[in-house]
Amino acid sequence: MSKSDDKAQTVSEKAVEVSSSTRQSSSSDEGSGGIVVLFFFIGLAISLIFGWMIFPKLLYSQKKQPINFSHSLHNKLVSNGCESCHFFRDDGSYSGVPKLAQCVGCHEEVQGDSPDEIEFVEKYVQKGIEVPWLVYARQPDCVFFSHAAHVKTAKLDCKTCHGYIGESESLKTYYQNRITGYSRDIWGENIAGIKKNTWDRMKMDDCAECHQKLKTSFGSVQTQKEGCFVCHK
């Protein structure tokens, strides 16, 4: 054979190779086009379900209060509403969750027949141990919140921030963010942060929202909003 011949041959061989390869690829295209799309949606679904339904559960750990407590029951018995127990100190600071000393005022001995009260008296009153309450509305250490300013001066209703806890029969579960350690009430139950009521969230934006609406003058030179030191320490 002459050189030219086998050159031509090799060329033709190449051509064959190429064509076959293209055929292969094209056929596989037709076959898996739908599947590719399907897989895409499977992936999409997986992460959406995880993100919107599983993740919120994972994010928070659930904690039970040391003992049960009925706000509504106590509310009926006291004269001065919330302030009967959650009172202001003489220096204007807010006492927050009552200390054992206040409860002892009434609960020296067991009053009624509620097992919770009996547990309370035996476990804490008699031993003189403070109840390690979990505070739903506890703000981080960097926050300075003046109850006096909001309740006394601005005449805000407790509900506005704390909702209907005052009418609750029992204490709800305490959800603690595993990363930040915050109570879930700060970010709110809705993972997207959507709120229907003023008391659904307690983040800085929620404070700011109200301050922006109600105040006429703002300290911050940089933001033309409320000054930082109004609420931070």
Partner: protein
């Protein structure tokens, strides 16, 4: 400007420090540390890595024995107003972690907002800003004395004197509770002013004519640090000694004795 529309006249808290009275005893420094949960390390002798919101500078008249004379100068954050509240540090902070409050004239610093770029430190000619190079560590048990009124800082953020702003918050709290609108001069005093044994530090509202500072700052011997830079500070110093007053700013040879402008 918007902030002037406030109900009560805008306050402008400031200080007047008498350098002829100051003995450099250090009470203000320690009072500040104790009041503001300032951390400490085993070795605090590297003053470039030692957090002292209130720092006492010491400088001399440059004369030799026995004509030499020395001045102690307590230096808190000067709470510059700059032009319209754009103090050197406030305007540079990228995350609005530090801000000028037109209601009080106080330069705030929010530790949880700060992410530690330290631009503000570079901008401050008074070196009044300090960075938490280390995690704050209190020896076992000592964290018991930490005050709940001031939040302890974490590693990696900048901190500085706040004119004991938390004391103002507490005073306001009381006022709200008692239905008062105004706060008495002595109801809000910084820890350093309160502790100073010689009362060299006077603190109050520079805008309020009933407050001592508003008069003291107008003494002929009163001056501010680096006025020429336009930092427009709210800490005034007083000294009868000319060389001390001159040390308060920078002057070319020809410029002193300073013409009263």
């Amino acid at each position: 400007m918007k902030q002037e529309q406030g109900h009560s006249k805008a306050k402008k808290f400031g200080m007047v420090i008498d350098l002829d009275l100051c003995t450099g005893c250090g009470s203000c420094m320690v009072a500040c540390m104790a009041e503001n949960n300032v951390p400490f390390k085993e070795d605090e002798t590297d003053k470039l890595k030692s957090i002292t919101w209130m720092r006492i500078f010491k400088f001399s008249n440059g004369k030799t024995y026995p004509e030499t004379d020395v001045c102690y100068l307590p230096r808190p954050c000067q709470h510059c107003e700059g032009h319209g509240g754009h103090s050197p540090c406030v305007s540079v902070c990228p995350a609005t972690a530090t801000d000028y409050d037109a209601h009080t004239g106080i330069v705030s610093q929010i530790y949880t907002r700060c992410f530690g770029c330290r631009y503000c430190m570079g901008s401050c000619p008074y070196k009044a800003r300090y960075f938490n190079w280390f995690d704050p560590v209190w020896p076992d048990g000592m964290e018991q004395y930490l005050s709940p009124d001031v939040s302890p800082r974490m590693r990696g953020v900048v901190e500085k004197c706040s004119f004991c702003y938390h004391r103002y918050q507490i005073a306001k709290d009381k006022a709200h509770y008692e239905g008062q609108t105004e706060i008495e001069e002595d109801a809000y005093q910084t820890a350093c002013a309160q502790a100073c044994p010689v009362k060299a530090i006077t603190f109050g509202d520079l805008n309020n004519h009933s407050h001592a500072v508003s008069k003291l700052k107008n003494q002929p011997n009163a001056f501010r640090l680096l006025e020429r830079l336009g930092t427009n500070t709210k800490v005034y110093y007083v000294s009868g000694r000319e060389w001390v007053r001159r040390a308060g700013d920078n002057y070319l040879k020809a410029e002193w004795p300073k013409k009263t402008s």
